[in-house]
Structure formats: C-alpha cells, structure tokens
C-alpha cells in the first residue's frame, strides 16, 4: 500500500438550514446520490464514483456550517497508532462506536484540534450498495446527473494557530505540505496539506474566529465539466462566488458558489500530482491574488473574508 497514514478525507457532516431545498441541490444539481436517512432525520449521500458507504451527511440545524470531517486511516492498526499520537499531541479523544451515528462506518475516534474544528479518524467502512463497477467496469452504472461530482476532494478550514494544525497533520496523520503562503514576517497565512498524491486533502487559512469552514470541494472530470457546473449555477440561480478560474496554488481548475443553506462549495478538476519528496512551493502573501486566481491576479473580498 502506498499511503501509510490517512488515505483521504472520507466523510463530512454539514449543517443546513433548509433540508429539502439544500438536499435537492446536492442530489439534482451537484449530482450526489442519496444513500439513506438516520432516525434523527439526517441524510446520507455519496458521489457516483465513490466506493465507500457515504461521504456527506446533512444535518438540519439552526445554523449552517461544519459539524466535523473524518479521515480514513490506512488500516485498523494505523488507526490505533494515530489515536495514540493524537493523545500524545495533547488533544483528548472520544470513541464513537461502530454503526452508531454514521451507518456503515466502523469505530471512529473524535477530537478537537487547535483551530476549533472537530476531526475524526476511522479505518473501516462498508462498501456502498451502488459503487463503481469492478469487473470489466464501465465508467458508470447510472448516468451521472447535474455537475456530475465524482467524489469528495478536500476542504478549506479557517481558524487560529494553523501552524500547529499543520504540524498536527504531519506528525499525527503522516501527511505532508506541498504548498504554503507566508506573511511578511514569515508566519503561516495559509497551508495546503495532503496524505496522498492529491495537492491537498485539506487546507487552512489563519483566522481569529475558531471552527469556520470556507468551502468543501468536490472533484469533476475536467475543465469542460467546470464549464457545465457554471451553466448549472446560472440555470439554478445559485449564488456564484468566483470562477470558472485557475488556481496557481494546486493548479486546480475551479468554480466557487454557495448552496442554498449558505455553505460554500467548490467544484474542482485537475491539480498537479504531489509527492512527499518534492520541494515545497512557497508564496508570499503579497502574491496571494495570483496564487488563488491566476487569470485575474485578484482576490474578491467575499472570497477571503466570508466564511460559514
């Protein structure tokens, strides 16, 4: 096996204000499939090209935002080692029993990191009833809908002390850091972190308020699918934030918009192939406009300042 710590972010639980309207967006516009519901009314969803039971849970709540993100560990043994390292790092861990509040998922360890976000790790998850084919496989079983999101890709989190969060991801999850933005006095302004070949599994921006989410990113096949997503944003009167554009950081092809409950979503294609032995790419904060939006070289205020 190639990856030794965490394999990927495998599950996100989001809070939504209007469940019916927002679910309609995730299913019919983003193109996710509904897998099931829990007795407390949460909805479980997955993208068509994902193998695992589900990757997104929507919970109706009074406020929008992120409940937690969960990372899949390479194996049960790795999971236990990660748990010990979390404790040694100084965060207290709670255990969530298998098949408790996330159907199909094995035991999860849950803890809060310095930025105020709740992270989880698990090693076991059932395969979805309707996953990608594996025997002489076709490219899909049911024609993908809407934006045709293939899988959950990454997320960007805002909170305090991202230097510690970055160190946590390296030391405890075994991740590495392909790309960073530093302030003039050499402090971290933003960091892109991965445990795989993707340029990022997650990213952080330094921010005074804890536990904020900037966006959740879903993967599309290519640049023409980003254009298709732009059409669907317009047709469905969703609020565009920025794009279609190119990131110089990660090299992703991207568009950002808001789902009906006010969580920002990115649909993303491309990106470079990262390797842990490659030199780190470093940006000055004065160049962050070009780093984020390569074509215009400018950041629109809502992009950096508005989070949920």
């Amino acid at each position: 096996m190639g990856f030794k710590g965490t394999l990927r972010p495998g599950l996100v639980q989001l809070r939504v204000l209007d469940l019916d309207k927002t679910l309609d967006f995730y299913k019919n516009v983003l193109g996710l499939n509904e897998v099931g519901r829990t007795s407390d009314g949460r909805v479980l969803l997955k993208a068509y090209d994902e193998f695992d039971h589900h990757s997104l849970t929507l919970r109706k709540a009074d406020e929008a935002g992120l409940d937690y993100v969960a990372f899949k560990a390479a194996c049960p043994d790795t999971l236990e080692k990660i748990k010990e390292k979390v404790v040694a790092f100084g965060y207290s861990v709670t255990e969530k029993a298998a098949n408790s509040d996330q159907p199909g998922f094995g035991k999860r360890y849950s803890f809060k990191i310095c930025t105020g976000h709740t992270f989880e790790v698990y090693a076991d998850v059932e395969l979805a009833a309707k996953g990608p084919q594996i025997k002489n496989p076709d490219i899909w079983s049911e024609q993908p809908r809407g934006m045709k999101a293939q899988r959950l890709d990454h997320f960007l989190l805002y909170g305090p002390n991202i230097a510690e969060a970055e160190r946590f991801c390296r030391e405890v999850f075994g991740m590495y850091v392909p790309e960073v933005v530093n302030t003039e006095d050499g402090k971290r302004f933003a960091t892109w972190i991965t445990g795989s070949n993707k340029p990022h599994d997650l990213a952080f921006v330094e921010y005074a308020q804890p536990n904020k989410i900037h966006h959740v990113g879903f993967y599309l096949q290519d640049w023409s699918e980003v254009g298709n997503a732009a059409d669907l944003i317009a047709i469905n009167h969703l609020k565009l934030d920025i794009g279609p554009t190119r990131h110089a950081i990660t090299r992703g092809l991207s568009i950002y918009f808001w789902e009906p409950s006010g969580n920002r979503i990115e649909v993303y294609a491309g990106g470079y192939t990262a390797y842990p032995d490659n030199p780190q790419r470093v940006w000055d904060v004065s160049e962050v406009g070009r780093g984020l939006f390569y074509y215009s070289g400018q950041v629109i205020p809502s992009f950096l300042e508005v989070v949920t």
Binding site: L17, D18, D62, W258, G262, S302, E305, V306
Partner: protein, 95 residues
C-alpha cells in the same frame, strides 16, 4: 399580479432604493448599486449581510442562521438582508 415596491432608506447616508415584495432587500440593494452592499452566500448562512431594520414591516422568507441572528437580535430588528422581503417602506442601518 402587479409587483408592489417599497422604498428602502439607508439611515447613515440617506440613500434610497426600491425593493419589490417578492425579492430580498439584499437583491434590491445589489440591483440598485446603492447602500452598504456586503454579502456572501445570499442563503442566510454566512452572516455577511447582517443589518438592522430600524423601521418598517418586513417578512423573513428564508431561515437565518442562529450563529449570526439570535432571538434577541430578531426582537431588535437585526436581520440578514438576503432573507427578508419588505411589506412597507423600510429604514436600515449597519450594526
């Protein structure tokens, strides 16, 4: 049915724009290009469009995130402009 429009006045500057009963105050402000236009999600989640309605009748037509508007705020006329529609002339100000 004909659209009923109301006047919305920005207290600080005296700027004024028209807002239909079927649209959010934020959308009208945006269209008019007047007033302190700050916004993000237009969905009641991010809180960027939070303002106080000093006078006038309005209805919330979308849920506003509790993280940005508390029970107390609602009594004080503090709203997310992307979630309210006018039912009379309004005066708004920053909070």
């Amino acid at each position: 049915m004909e659209t009923v429009f109301h006047n919305v006045t920005v207290a600080e500057t005296g700027e004024r724009f028209l807002c239909g009963e079927g649209e959010s105050v934020l959308a009208a402000m945006f269209r008019a290009g007047r007033g302190p236009i700050t916004y993000g999600c237009c969905g009641g989640g991010c809180g960027a469009c939070r303002m106080k309605i000093v006078s006038g009748n309005y209805v919330p037509f979308k849920k506003m995130s509790r993280a940005h508007v508390s029970e107390r705020d609602i009594q004080d006329g503090i709203v997310l402009l992307c979630c309210v529609q006018p039912r009379g002339d309004l005066t708004i100000r920053a909070v």
